[in-house]
């Protein structure tokens, strides 16, 4: 069953917490991965790969650069999840 927006944000929060050690409550829709959450370009790749597995979605390299905020990633996953 497809994940809801709320479930995706919670899932991303777990992933960002695991990879970058950011408290889950800080991961909000309007937060920028690089500017607010201290997720650098390489950690972002790890976040993307973990999100692909968790939400059964493919996020090609060329799309990763467009995922600036948690909201961008959530929308992408909502639209493309299997």
């Amino acid at each position: 069953m497809a994940a809801t927006q709320e479930e995706i944000v919670a899932g991303l929060a777990d992933i960002v917490n695991e990879i970058a050690g950011i408290p889950v409550e800080d991961v909000q829709l309007d937060k920028s991965f690089t500017d607010d959450l201290d997720v650098d370009s390489l950690s972002m790749v790890e976040v993307v790969v973990a999100a692909e597995e968790r939400f059964d979605v493919k996020i090609p390299d060329e799309d990763v650069k467009n995922l600036k905020t948690v909201g961008d990633a959530t929308d992408y996953i909502l639209k493309h999840q299997g």
């Binding site: 650098d40 370009s41 390489l42 790890e46 790969v49 390299d61």
Partner: protein, 332 residues
Amino acid sequence: MAKLKPSKGAPYARILGVGGYRPTRVVPNEVILEKIDSSDEWIRSRSGIETRHWANAEETVAAMSIEASGKAIADAGISAEQIGGVIVSTVSHFKQTPAVATEIADKLGTNKAAAFDISAGCAGFGYGLTLAKGMIVEGSAEYVLVIGVERLSDLTDLEDRATAFLFGDGAGAVVVGPSQEPRIGPTVWGSEGDKSETIKQTLAWNEYDSSTDKFPAITQEGQAVFRWAVFEMAKVAQQALDAAGITPDELDVFIPHQANERIIDSMVKTLKLPEHVKVARDVRTTGNTSAASIPLAMERLLATGEAKSGDTALVIGFGAGLVYAATVVTLP
């Protein structure tokens, strides 16, 4: 049809000795920062690199190779005349003809050893090792020298903040010889030419115009390389373990290509390597030396006592091509 005599090789092959050469000039991040807008902290956090070595005019591809090879030959306890093959992997020897391997074979004092260069980027050591093993088991050479050597400082765009800090120079060499037991496992290798744009030289030599162009340099798509190197190469590393019949618990040492410490960290995590496995992190003080990185890291682990002779090591190289090669070896 005339009957041909078969060649007689050894039952198996092993690495008998290893040697390395690092150029005398040590270059800290401060020097890199003279030409890019970055910081020591940024470079360390993205790559783990603190210093790298850059070769001077005398430290040529051949000269560094001869130094590293001399040490490997001494470590193996053989003489140069016994070497029947010299394989050099490099992407930074700027004269294609003749192969630099022939000069190295001659200056080392081999007895007209077969000598040739290969181009397999950062997987070059694994490619060379696999060829050497084949030559020994097939019987065309008893001992083969495999050299990885680079002067990547010559192919670095010092004004590119994404790559200026990455590359270093150096040579690593191993002597491969006969064995009664398998000491080099099956190689898992391959190429993905559809990803050739991911890591490449900016301009072909015949396109380069010195009056208008920047000197050709190595450029890469960082995120794409990182994803491939960590997640695809972890699968290849696992396949090499499986092919050798080794469980992660039986592994003593992990020597991945020293591209970037973040790749190494993430690979270790993805492969779920046990705590006891010693992981090569030579990239911190050597930078990325492409084909030279695995033998250089191997030499340092043995020299510092972090690894010991007889240890079981997983080695994996990956890079421009894209190409990759992984195998399990017993350390000399």
